[in-house]
């Protein structure tokens, strides 16, 4: 017996006898004999105790940002997650259930998704939300595909260069076989005004997309861009941060057609980049072109309310090659985590988290702005992230910060050639005033 197998020797023998085989080796006659039972050059199995120790040893080789004063953001954030979030998603009834294809024995998952959809609509100001995508980047790529399918014969996509670089990279990977024209995001510094972006939208444009807040943490009124998009028959997609939507005007009120983003800030650990949850919301008129699972309300044979997966005719298991997307497995458990987070924080709590981030980020910007060798980009209002012009390469500054036990911000020179020496600093409710003061002091020390 090994691992998690329940089979005793007696079980094996009796089962083999029942099926008319002499040994286990006999039940693979269709596997080409010369290739059957190859050597597996893998380490030997261990007891659970030893495996836990091995993983703990691997973990101890890391310096988790969550355990330090960290100002790294850029798409993954160290927000506080109330204990009840983790405890709920550990319940075996949620954890070890499959996609709810059989609704009579899946009402728990189905109702939880239905409530998630409702909360995402409330946050974004949109009509409908799906049950989730893999992450913010793939939600965004699915928005491009929805726009192409909804605006027949159009193939131009206008992308703000201030959308997360990896999200734009995923759009390029996803659409490499589709023959699309992706424009707008080739500037060296990532700056393109809304007017300049709007000027790129024409009657061949399927979609124009912006960040809100954008990759640099900044936000502005998107209404003029929405009006231009509408006039040209293009869709406006907004990539957003769900914590920011606790206080900022929702994109739906500014005329957005699709709102997507990364749900990780809603109580999900950073976990080195995943698993996260991509949210996706749109207008009623696009619901049949939307990708992903959808849960709808209905009644059972006795007239009692219940929930089912619906509009399956959009999906790959029915429509096959003509489906709106290939997505099957999504991030349901992470969507559940986000729902629990939004429930337990609630209407007041989410706004408080948003405002804490806002005030602390502005305090940090003020303190850093006082340093003589640094300046902060205040060209637009910002939420919880802002851009700092540094006197030296960011990698050198960050090395100096790390010597002082601080994890510095994101090096924008990685993605934008004209932003050498610019650091994107993220501040959340988890960053104390002491941490922020220590950051400002350390930045002053490592300036030269």
């Amino acid at each position: 017996m090994s691992g998690y197998l329940p089979h005793t020797e007696a079980d094996r023998e009796e089962m083999l006898r029942t099926i008319g085989a002499k040994s286990v080796a006999d039940i693979f006659p269709d596997v080409p004999e010369e290739h059957r039972f190859p050597d597996l050059n893998l380490p030997d199995g261990l007891s659970q105790m030893e495996v836990y120790q091995e993983l703990a040893t691997l973990a101890a080789k890391n310096a988790p940002a969550a355990g330090f004063a960290s100002f790294l953001g850029a798409g993954s954030y160290h927000h506080y997650s109330p204990s009840v979030v983790n405890h709920t998603i550990l319940r075996g009834e949620f954890l070890t259930a499959y996609t709810p294809y059989q609704p009579e024995v899946s009402q728990g998952t189905l109702q939880a998704i239905y409530e998630y959809q409702s909360m995402i609509c409330a946050l974004t100001g949109m009509d409908v939300s799906n049950a989730s995508h893999y992450d913010g980047a793939t939600s965004f790529a699915e928005a491009v595909i929805l726009a192409i399918n909804s605006t027949r014969n159009r193939s131009k996509i206008v992308l703000s260069p201030a959308i997360h670089p990896e999200y734009r990279a995923v759009v390029r990977s996803y659409t490499q076989g589709m023959g699309l024209e992706l424009v707008g995001d080739d500037s060296a510094d990532g700056v393109l005004s809304l007017d300049e972006l709007a000027a790129l939208v024409d009657d061949q444009t399927a979609m124009v997309a912006v960040g809100y807040p954008n990759f640099f943490g900044q936000f502005e009124d998107l209404t003029p861009l929405a009006e231009k998009a509408r006039a040209e028959g293009a869709l406006l997609t907004v990539v957003s941060d769900p914590i920011a939507l606790g206080m900022l005007k929702p994109p739906g009120w500014m005329g957005a057609d699709v709102v997507v983003g990364e749900g990780q800030p809603l109580g999900i650990p950073m976990s080195f980049g995943g698993p996260y949850v991509g949210f996706f919301a749109t207008r009623n008129q696009h619901v049949r072109k939307m990708a992903g699972r959808l849960v709808g309300e209905t009644v059972d044979a006795d007239g009692q309310e219940g929930y089912v997966l619906t509009l399956a005719t959009r999906e790959q298991h029915i429509r096959r090659a003509r489906a709106t997307s290939n997505i099957c497995t999504n991030q349901a458990l992470m969507a559940l985590a986000a729902s629990v987070y939004l429930s337990v924080l609630g209407k007041e709590g989410l706004r408080e988290v948003a405002e804490l981030c806002y005030h602390k980020a502005h305090y940090a910007a003020d303190e850093i702005g006082k340093l003589k060798d640094y300046s902060v980009d205040r060209s637009q209002p910002f939420f919880k992230e802002f851009v700092v012009n540094c006197p030296r390469p960011v990698s050198e500054i960050n090395a100096g910060l790390w010597e002082r036990g601080i994890i510095g911000g994101y090096d924008l020179g990685r993605d934008y050639p004209a932003r050498k020496n610019q650091m994107l600093v993220a501040v959340t409710e988890n960053n104390s005033r002491q941490q922020i003061d220590a950051l400002a002091e350390a930045l002053g020390e490592v300036a030269a």
Binding site: Y4, H7, M15, V24, I27, D30, L42, V51, E54, A56, A59, A60, N62, G75, H78, V84, T88, R91, E93, A97, Y98, T99, Q102, P103, E104, V105, Q107, T109, Y114, S118, S129, Y134, D135, T138, A169, V170, Q176, G177, M247, L248, K249, M270, G274, V287, G296, D300, Q304, T313, I318, R320, A321, A323, N326, N330, Q331, V344, G346, K347, V353, H359
Partner: protein, 493 residues
């Protein structure tokens, strides 16, 4: 049973769960009012215990592996070890930011590197990328790589992927997303790919073949060597859908058979939980010639340790960051418990369980190709047309016996020589973690239902009887779409 209210209908205005600390910094000037949402945020107003009770009561409405057998064909619903949950939550792993400097995350990179190596070894391949987030993402990745491989050779006329008609729907959908055409291949009278049809479709327009082996009937392709030779003969590549890999670990290496790409479903074969629909993880492993096209970044090792690199001709990235890392930790943990020989034993017991259960179920049901050994799953005919009982009725009745039904939906292809159709299948995958007693209990339930079908078919037609809700009106759900329980707030005038 009383319906659990919506979370929005619990609580009371002004009530709250978790409170946040007061600001410890001076308050900044707020943005202009026209950039703010005001007081309309329509989220629940509940206490923490309201939340705990609500989700606990909802959880009771689910069937889960933790409760009892969950024999969904092709879904590999095996036990999800709790050890995996603990290791994935180690602060040194769960607390890592994806953009931390490499020197701060060497343990995470080592874990990813080892997992890449192990998945490469299990498949008999040359390289692996852990990036795809799920099986369908892995398929899409693989098809994009196959496309890129031909384009890189300057071969621009290939535009078609061949797919057996018994394939899962994600196969053709992933192909379409890549901008390629799908040609479906029929099955022969033994459940294999129809070789003559394959030969007829092969040509210099073919990017490759996408094949699930063992196939959806749970049968290992009897002519696998010839199938691969045929497709290679016309310059095509071979993609393996690894959804059914639970049958093959240590039994055969797809790379040695001539496959160019497969994806693994870590949430099937390597025990990570399905979570009500996800998250999964769908790493792709590839042959030597496909390595330069892998999605990146992937982890490399040199004398300084581990670091991310981008493969030379990479198709790009398939998600932000590096993959569903927390799922990778769970799979790694699982593989360390079993080790190489243990994993082979795992697949052998999965196949033994399926064959034993097939034998038991055949006492009351027709099994197409039941004269062959199956692999990790099998299909029983669930449509008893002479007595007007359908597979769905049997499935719903199984719920009354405390079991989750098998997969009912069977892909398009009607295997030659059977009466199987799209809705008539009972596709059963027991997995290796079910004991003989559980398999016997499940078989006894199916056989009892077979008897009920003859004696009292209405009992099946009106099933389930003991579940929280009765059969639900799916047509109404799609016609009168209600997808959100709240009125959509309008901007204040």
């Amino acid at each position: 049973m009383k319906k659990e209210p919506l979370i929005y209908d619990l609580g009371s205005p002004g009530r709250r769960g978790v409170t946040m600390p007061a600001p410890d910094v001076p308050l900044a000037e707020m943005p202009a009012d026209d950039l703010l949402r005001g007081d309309d945020l329509d989220l629940p107003e509940v206490s923490e215990i309201d939340v705990v009770r609500h989700y606990l009561r909802l959880s009771h409405l689910n069937h889960s592996i933790d409760q009892d057998m969950y024999p969904l064909g092709s879904c590999t619903m095996k036990y999800n070890p709790r050890l995996n949950e603990d290791t994935a939550r180690l602060p040194g792993l769960a607390g890592l930011h994806p953009y931390q400097d490499g020197s701060q995350v060497q343990g995470a990179l080592e874990l990813m590197y080892n997992l890449q190596e192990w998945l490469t070894e299990i498949g008999g391949f040359a390289g692996t990328s852990l990036q795809p987030a799920a099986g369908a993402s892995g398929e899409f990745t693989g098809i994009l790589m196959m496309r890129a491989y031909h384009l890189d050779r300057g071969d621009t006329k290939r535009d078609t992927i061949l797919i057996p008609d018994s394939a899962h729907g994600t196969n053709p959908a992933s192909t379409s997303m890549s901008g390629l055409k799908v040609v479906e291949l029929p099955s022969d009278e033994r459940g294999n790919i129809d070789l003559e049809a394959l030969k007829a479709e092969c040509g210099d327009h073919v990017v490759g073949l996408m094949i699930t082996n063992p196939n959806t009937l749970g049968l290992f392709e009897e002519h696998i060597v010839e199938v691969i030779e045929t497709i290679r003969g016309c310059g095509g590549l071979v993609y393996g859908d690894g959804a059914n890999m639970n049958a093959l670990v240590g039994i055969v290496k797809p790379g040695e058979l001539g496959f160019d790409v497969i994806h693994y479903n870590l949430h099937k074969t390597f025990s990570t939980p399905h979570g009500g629909g996800g998250p999964g993880s769908g790493p792709v492993a590839v042959s030597e010639r496909m390595v330069p096209f892998l999605p990146g970044p992937i982890v490399a090792r040199d004398s300084d340790g581990f670091r991310f690199v981008q493969p030379e001709k990479s198709i790009g990235r398939m998600k932000a960051f590096y993959g569903n890392f927390g799922v990778l930790v769970r799979a790694y943990t699982f593989m360390r418990v079993y080790g190489g020989d243990g994993l082979r034993d795992m697949s052998q017991m999965a196949v033994l369980n399926a064959n034993y259960l097939m034998k038991r179920v055949s006492e009351g049901y027709d099994i197409p190709y039941g004269n062959r050994f199956c692999m990790h799953e099998f299909v029983a005919e669930g449509d008893l047309l002479d007595i007007d009982v359908h597979a769905l009725d049997i499935s719903k009745r199984l719920m009354d016996y405390g079991f989750h039904p098998p997969t009912n939906y069977f892909p398009l292809g009607k295997p030659a020589g059977t009466t199987l159709n799209v809705h008539g299948a009972l596709m059963i995958e027991p997995t290796e973690t079910e004991s003989k007693e559980t398999l016997d209990a499940f078989a006894e339930a199916l056989l009892a239902i077979r008897k009920e079908a003859d004696e009292n078919p209405d009992l099946l037609h009106s099933a389930p009887h003991v579940t929280p809700v009765a059969r639900l009106d799916e047509v109404r759900a799609a016609k009168q779409l209600v997808l959100c329980c709240r009125p959509i707030p309008e901007p204040p005038v």
